[in-house]
Symmetry: C2
């Protein structure tokens, strides 16, 4: 990747001055179009070799364009709030909304590279990190983010020269410490890791742009012109085809009979009031006990509730929260996204709500809306929801790898039972909020939902974040099953924590 970058490049001051003026006006113009269109966000990743002009270039971009709409984030040590969430949480919270430009110094690529150089990741782990990055960037691309990645490069000789030059100048001396020289000693090892890394994370959608860093004017013009061309191409193409997600997908097989994970459920489970009372006390007691376990302070829990309309999600959630101290849980009720949420990739609103350690977050409906209601109502394209299965698996994988306990419930009732409940609810005054025209409308799509739910379960039930299908014609049974499932998931996780300690 670095062959061209090692060559001696040079731009004369006269050329630079002339070019810069034009470039500046054009960039500013593009930035205004970006702001006015508000169609997509721009995310610029800045990476590369020490001393190759990363900071200088970003400062220059801020000078050329309107700094009021460029948001630069440098990711150093994570804060405690960050380290209590999956590693990518800090990047999600810093994503620029549509119309804005975000600049990330040292984003998701930094840790894998540094750890591989230091020998803290073996080859397999490193490959897996690379694959994660590819998937993350693919998702951002598919969500419409204009992702531009610059790698600033210096040859070993150039870096040495640069560090000496910085050291000599009293104004920049502070920038060169022992750390920089220690890193310099690792130059060859860094290159051995970075070269294949750049190749493997260079995709058609988001290629790395290697910028020769030795000549300040040459690198500035390289970045400036490339950025301008990239912005302009996307800004000027307002046709539908410019929406990355509108691609052709292969169809899923239509069900050939009525045998599926839902139809095989025995929806009418028996449980008497008396049994329920006993079981409820038992499992709420157990949950309360588990929640107070000191090891819970190191964990977070995410509980997802999905289900047919009126399947009893609210009731099941209430039986769960009854067993918990209100200070340690929060419920996120998922309705239409807010304006700020609409300006971001669809998973953003869920990332922002992930709990800190010691806390449980209940999602009353969730990111699965993408492959349920959004699929069925056509709120997103087929390509959008088709890719969502993988994106959701990645999202939950990030949680479980961080140590978060993830439980997911689908509360299933029969079509007849739903009719009965709708009718009943229309009668009861204080339940009025639970039945709307939309519910009746959704009901007409019963079969479509069934297909979507089966696809969802097949494609997102993973070993670490499995779906629990809850037979919910009998509410009592459903509530107990939810409690039991959560308890055993917690127990299992707490045992793992103990084992690790030994």
């Amino acid at each position: 990747m670095f062959e061209s970058a090692k060559l001696k490049h040079h731009v004369s001051p006269v050329t630079f001055k002339r070019e810069e003026k034009k470039l500046r006006e054009a960039l500013l113009d593009a930035q205004i179009d970006l702001l006015e269109q508000r169609r997509f966000p721009v995310l610029i990743l800045i990476a590369g070799v020490e001393g190759a002009g990363k900071g200088e270039t970003v400062n220059l971009l801020n000078e050329w364009m309107d700094p009021r709409h460029i948001h630069t984030h440098a990711f150093w040590q994570p804060s405690d709030e960050e380290s209590e969430r999956p590693p990518n949480w800090r990047f999600w919270r810093a994503l620029p909304p549509k119309g804005q430009i975000g600049v990330f110094f040292g984003a998701w690529h930094t840790m894998p590279i540094v750890q591989r150089v230091m020998g803290k990741l073996d080859e397999g782990e490193f490959s897996s990190a690379v694959a994660d990055i590819r998937r993350l960037e693919k998702m951002l691309y598919d969500e419409g983010v204009l992702l531009i990645k610059y790698w600033f490069h210096l040859s070993k000789g150039q870096q040495k020269k640069r560090l000496h030059a910085l050291e000599k100048d009293p104004r920049t001396r502070w920038r060169v410490t022992d750390v920089e020289w220690d890193y310099f000693k690792l130059y060859d090892r860094f290159i051995k890791v970075c070269d294949p890394f750049l190749r493997e994370t260079s995709t058609g959608e988001a290629p790395w742009i290697v910028v020769p860093g030795a000549d300040p004017r040459y690198r500035a013009l390289t970045v400036g012109r490339h950025l301008l061309a990239t912005l302009r191409r996307r800004l000027d193409d307002t046709s539908d085809s410019a929406r990355p997600a509108k691609k052709k997908t292969l169809p899923l097989p239509a069900p050939r009979d009525d045998v599926n994970v839902l139809s095989k459920l025995e929806l009418d489970q028996k449980m008497t009031r008396a049994e329920y009372k006993k079981e409820l006390e038992k499992w709420q007691g157990k949950l309360n006990f588990l929640a107070r376990d000191p090891r819970m302070k190191q964990l977070s829990v995410v509980a997802v509730f999905e289900g047919n309309d009126s399947a009893g999600k609210g009731g099941a959630i209430r039986r769960l929260t009854q067993a918990l101290d209100a200070r340690f849980y929060d419920t996120v009720s998922v309705a239409a996204p807010t304006e700020e949420e609409r300006a971001q990739p669809y998973l953003w609103r869920f990332w922002r709500n992930l709990p800190r350690h010691g806390n449980l977050t209940i999602f009353d409906r969730s990111w699965y809306g993408r492959v349920l209601v959004e699929r069925i109502e056509g709120f997103c394209s087929e390509a959008d929801w088709m890719r969502a299965y993988g994106e959701i698996n990645d999202f939950e994988d990030a949680m479980t790898r961080h140590g978060t306990v993830v439980v997911k419930f689908w509360l299933a009732i029969s079509k007849d039972e739903q009719y009965r409940r709708f009718k009943e609810r229309e009668k009861v005054a204080f339940k009025r909020f639970k039945i709307t025209k939309e519910d009746w409308r959704n009901r007409k799509r019963w079969h479509d939902y069934e297909t979507a739910v089966c696809d969802m379960v097949d494609r997102t039930s993973t070993a670490k974040a499995p779906w629990t299908l809850v037979e919910a014609n009998n509410k009592l049974h459903a509530r107990i099953k939810v409690l039991q499932t959560l308890c055993s998931a917690l127990e299992e996780r707490l045992e793992q924590v103990s084992k690790k300690r030994k």
Copy 2:
């Protein structure tokens, strides 16, 4: 405050069961109305004596109502992100939006009380903390927050009995540690602090409700009924008079002549290009040097830019950011609030953007919009902007007391100069974004703005966060003055830091 609470109260299980059923339905009903109206948020503060049933009551409220729209926050040790902002930042970020219920355990009242009991605050400091709380709560009230404050009480004898009972029960034994008994020993001292505290922070708008805590059924019904009545009164009164802010205010004096802080400015300051070049290099160098001072890691900086349209805010900001590393500043461009911001008190959107230590945030327009454009265009009532002066002073006081450097610039140009710039900008292509119909419309209100700016300067120029009026007919002069002012504010603050260390 605690006379009635010490009496022996009792509710029989039969009465409770009957009452609870009705109460539950009515509360749920009120909660639904709250959600549907989305007119105001409800904030419930929970305070009081250890063992008086605070946690139990909150859990019960979550049981009675829909826990999906109640968000409970307990404030323990601040996270590092919290401790790098003014103390109230953590409460602001947890405020419930309109339509939702927030429950705060241990909010802003906790620290002053505990510190006073422990002797860490003297009487004057405590009084000042009390005054701060009154102002904060008044502001929340005026912004439409329904603030309800419960103080759970036990007499000394009752508390002793309660702690013993908790200790005896194996299920609750964990709740009583040495800490609880240590606090018990301080009971009398606590009461001595809390009794006047409750009196002084009980206002007509937000009185403390003392709840006798010994009998679980009595306290539950007390809270439940009071909450219901409070909710209902506010929900049912949809008249205009229910908006707290629509009160009569006393008029400000109209200016009697043309002598004011703006008219006294010498708008045409002289500076040649050559002088500018020299000065710019000098002050940008100085700013760059100061920003890299290691002591800056412990500080944050807030720079506010206001001014006439086309006064050159953008240009001045750019000259400032040019001197800084993009990784350490961010700019907040204040336009129309987002949906999430509109569901909160107007200062919320500014609180959420306060910088962490080591960072500078530039506000391009700011909270002063309240007393400028909102006042002039009638976007808020006279009472709203009249109270805003005090609220803004409190906000900035919170910043400066935390150690944040606050600089505020008003860039002033003459009416003629503005006309010249508007015309010029309409001609230049790449400046097209800077001139809109709204700008021409605002211009017609020149005189109103002048009055509003003078009032603003008079009422919000404080010793620690003074306004700097910048004569801006000559852009070059303006930019240098901004840089100079920021530099001296930083220098002054850094000196204070050094002095503290000695």
